[in-house]
């Protein structure tokens, strides 16, 4: 699995293709699994497969909101930190239907790719101040998202095998 830094060296087109495959890869990974298996956490702290799909859906929306803010401002905005465990609890991921969640992720992801597809070379260098990672450009976000997808796909496959 490439690191974020390794992704950063790949051409944008290649990273965007990685993003474009994720919804299908998730669908393949959960195919044939029943709701009980999808809702089973490998341990008390680690997410079930269903929660990972919901996380990707909501994170996709949050990425979009950040991009909107970065593109709308002349200076680097300070980006708020996310609290994914709080979302999992509050948005009651375990009660979600995974097929619907995946479909919503697929739609959001297509919108992200559309946004990326329209960026000018100057816009790729626009960025914001991430509370943990420091300044991150839209190009950096593309690498981050590719890595984030890999990471969670892997986590989802482990969760279905009962591993944290």
């Amino acid at each position: 699995m490439p690191t974020m830094e390794e992704y950063a060296t790949q051409p944008r087109e290649q990273r965007m293709q990685r993003l474009a495959r994720t919804a299908d890869e998730l669908a393949a990974a959960i195919k044939g699994q029943d709701d009980a298996a999808l809702s089973r956490r490998p341990d008390a702290k680690n997410w079930a497969a269903k929660e990972i799909v919901c996380h990707l859906r909501d994170t996709e929306e949050a990425f979009g909101t950040r991009f909107d803010q970065i593109l709308a401002m002349d200076v680097d905005p300070k980006l708020g930190g996310a609290n994914p465990d709080r979302w999992a609890e509050e948005r009651q991921y375990l009660r979600n239907d995974v097929a619907e969640a995946l479909q919503a992720f697929r739609t959001r992801r297509a919108e992200t790719l559309q946004t990326f597809g329209k960026l000018t070379s100057g816009q790729w260098d626009k960025g914001g101040l991430h509370p943990v990672r420091g300044r991150i450009t839209l190009d950096g976000f593309l690498s981050l998202m590719a890595w984030h997808d890999d990471n969670h796909l892997d986590q989802l496959k482990r969760a279905l095998q009962g591993r944290a």
């Binding site: 909101t65 509050e90 969640a101 959001r108």
Partner: protein, 331 residues
């Protein structure tokens, strides 16, 4: 007192003008029967989806026309308003020989292309329906903008936007109240919701009063998620100088994507209460000058914390009422 252009009309036109001016009201036999169509129109505008607004506009106009027993009109909802030096066109009523008359309504402003506010859109719709009624109901040979015409439009508006809703403090009214009054309103909402819900169980709370109107649990989830967004906006305003505040939602998309109807209502209320507590903790610590800090929202323009708090107070009012109605199976 007729408008200035009266003097330029011919005698027969003046007679039509005077007749129009004399009639100040159009009474609907059962206004409450049309309220679901009005609510659905508000919900459709929120989705910003032209086809949904088209369907909801057609439904309301059809209900109005049926209630008054006049011939039908064709309805066409269009995107951005055409504009010229004199301003923007909001709606248009046209009569063509051999065809049913046509009402055209524009749902977005000309320059910013924002979706028109619900009350403005409803006013425009009733204005164009008013032209149709001049011919079809009042049997006038022309349809003039007289004082009576505008009063008839307002009389329909009042009957459709029911008295209770009209009496509720608006955002403006909340804005004129003191910060303490607004904070007190925000602080009371979780208990108010708990009181309205009482001992009802998840099944009753997941029932939608109409296909397009939210169930009580969806209202609770909406309040919870909007509270989070409110917190993010306040944090952005306080940590930056005049940040851009991106649009969120739309709310119906959240309800669908986040699958609100599957949520446990008790947990949703508890989490709303926790988020609301955090908001209040931030707000009470702010100095008066902090209240005037703001950011630029893509469609609403500049929003200060002062205004956001008024919006939240009004938003609470709306949704407590919506939840109460939903529990009575009313959309």
């Amino acid at each position: 007192m007729p408008f200035a252009y009266y003097a330029r009309l011919t005698r027969s036109q003046q007679a039509i003008y005077r007749k129009s001016d004399e009639i100040v009201e159009v009474r609907l036999p059962h206004p409450a029967a049309l309220h679901p169509a009005v609510t659905a129109l508000g919900a459709a505008l929120q989705t910003e989806d032209r086809e949904r607004v088209q369907r909801a506009s057609e439904r309301l106009i059809r209900d109005l026309i049926d209630a008054l027993g006049v011939p039908p009109v064709r309805v066409e909802v269009l995107a951005a308003r055409p504009h010229a030096k004199w301003g923007e066109l909001h709606g248009l009523y046209t009569v063509e020989r051999g065809r049913a008359p046509r009402i055209q309504l524009w749902m977005r402003t000309a320059k910013q292309r924002r979706v028109v506010a619900f009350r403005t859109y409803l006013r425009t719709l009733l204005h164009e329906v008013g032209h149709h009624l001049d011919y079809a109901l009042l049997q006038l040979r022309d349809s003039y903008h007289t004082e009576g015409f505008y009063k008839r439009e307002s009389s329909l508006f009042r009957q459709l936007v029911d008295e209770e809703r009209a009496a509720r403090p608006s955002v403006d009214a909340w804005f004129r109240r003191t910060p303490d009054e607004r904070l007190a309103r925000l602080a009371s909402t979780p208990d108010e919701l708990a009181g309205v819900i009482g001992r009802r169980g998840p099944r009753a709370l997941a029932r939608r009063p109409a296909p397009e109107a939210w169930a009580p649990v969806e209202v609770l989830c909406h309040l919870r998620d909007i509270e989070e967004l409110f917190g993010e906006r306040v944090a952005a305003i306080l940590s930056m100088h005049e940040p851009a505040l991106p649009a969120a939602g739309p709310s119906d998309r959240w309800a669908a994507e986040r699958q609100y109807r599957r949520h446990d209502p008790g947990a949703a209320l508890a989490h709303f209460r926790r988020r609301r507590g955090e908001s209040l903790e931030t707000l009470v610590a702010l100095s008066p000058s902090d209240w005037q800090r703001g950011g630029e929202h893509v469609s609403r323009g500049r929003l200060t914390i002062d205004l956001l708090v008024a919006l939240m107070a009004s938003h609470d009012d709306n949704h407590v009422e919506q939840l109460t109605r939903a529990l009575e199976d009313k959309p």
